[in-house]
Amino acid sequence: MKKIPILYLNSILIASIQTELTDEEVLSFQSELLKKNNKLMAKGVIIDVSTLDVIDSYMAKVLGDLTTMVKLQGSAFLLCGVKPAVSSTLVDMGMMLTKIDTFLSLEKAFNFLTSNDRKFQ
């Protein structure tokens, strides 16, 4: 089973999903991320999907759930690097990831978290 590395930097958890995951791998990634966040109490979690070619309704649902779960843990949840074709496909399917804060790049997401310290104290 493939494992997604989860990095910790400036009290931010960063994970980049670079290969297409099976449903089981997605779920194990989800639980690992939540466990790690529980231990480290990050002020934010950033998921980078800039190399993902397909986000189907299942993956979208997992990402939506993850947002809610991470927010329940008291951390911010940021998504970055959604490809244009992926985004318009999701919209056409009727999956609007509107409750997720999204950014154009990892850098922009990271800057957002580190420059708005007061917001997350």
Binding site: V82, S88, V91, M96
Partner: protein, 275 residues
């Protein structure tokens, strides 16, 4: 030796009258500009006269005939591009034939009969050619319009993080798809945090347009770009409310100018925050 001696003489003698008669016939029930018709008809007549120096079997190889073909080419494509109807265009050479018949006196009819068979064939050839050119030009127009339709979504980069997309004309489903795709590609490529959709030149605003704009906004949000709207006309505003489309989550501005200055302010703010 069959040639067009008698017809040539006849046309030469009545040249002025033939042209007048011909132009009147082709412009009788339309608002076509007469001076242009007059020029075109005279040129064609001259070239036909030069061409019939040769007999029918050798005519297509002659230099004057190729000049005539060239003239008909610009003649027919001009008419295709300027919305002349197929009937109008086809009529020119047919009317030419009819006009010449009217100048043949009853007594001369028999003597001319043999020449007229070939002449008839020649003009029919020319009429078919004209119509072919007309159709080709029409088709070309359609293809180039389809091409323009696919490519007429210009995107203007206003600053490092701001893109402008002026929407124009009628937005149907096929174009809306194209608009969403090119906007998303552009914001990701330029890493633009804000995109303005300017609606000033949108021809009609209905549920489809509104939904497509909402789709664009959601799709842009998912890649991390905020879309703001500008230039919603009074008509569009009324339609939006009447249709019950909810644009309350979308920032809108009356003019493009206000949208740009708002975007720049926001941009400045985020830059200061970042530093």
């Amino acid at each position: 030796m069959k040639n067009f001696e008698k017809i040539k003489a006849l046309v030469h003698k009545n040249k002025e009258n033939i042209i007048n008669h011909w132009v009147t016939a082709v412009t009788s029930n339309s608002s076509i500009d007469k001076t242009r018709e007059f020029d075109d008809c005279s040129t064609i007549l001259e070239l036909v006269l030069q061409s019939i120096e040769h007999d029918y079997n050798n005519i297509s190889a002659s230099q004057s005939y190729s000049l005539l073909e060239k003239e008909l080419h610009s003649f027919a494509s001009f008419r295709a591009l300027n919305n002349f109807t197929p009937t109008q265009t086809a009529n020119y050479l047919l009317e030419f034939k009819r006009t010449i018949y009217t100048f043949v006196s009853d007594s001369a009819r028999e003597a001319l009969a043999e020449e007229f068979i070939d002449f008839n064939n020649l003009i029919d050839d020319l009429a078919v050619l004209t119509f072919q050119i007309y159709t080709d030009a029409r088709e070309e127009t359609i293809v180039s319009q389809a091409y323009a339709l696919e490519h007429d979504t210009p995107i203007v980069k206003i600053s490092q993080s701001l893109l402008l997309m002026p929407l124009m004309g009628i937005i149907d489903t096929a174009r809306a798809q194209k608009i969403i795709e090119s906007l998303l590609d552009a914001v990701v490529e330029n890493q633009a945090e804000i995109a303005i959709l300017d609606m000033t030149a949108v021809a009609t605003f209905d549920t489809h347009v509104a939904n497509n704009i909402l789709k664009t906004i959601s799709a842009a949000k998912m890649v991390g770009t905020k879309v703001i709207l500008s230039g919603i006309s009074p008509n569009a505003a009324m339609t939006i409310v009447k249709l019950g489309v909810d644009l309350s989550q979308v920032e809108t501005f009356n003019t493009l100018e206000n949208a740009i200055s708002h975007a720049n302010e926001r941009d400045g703010l985020s830059l200061r925050e970042a530093s």
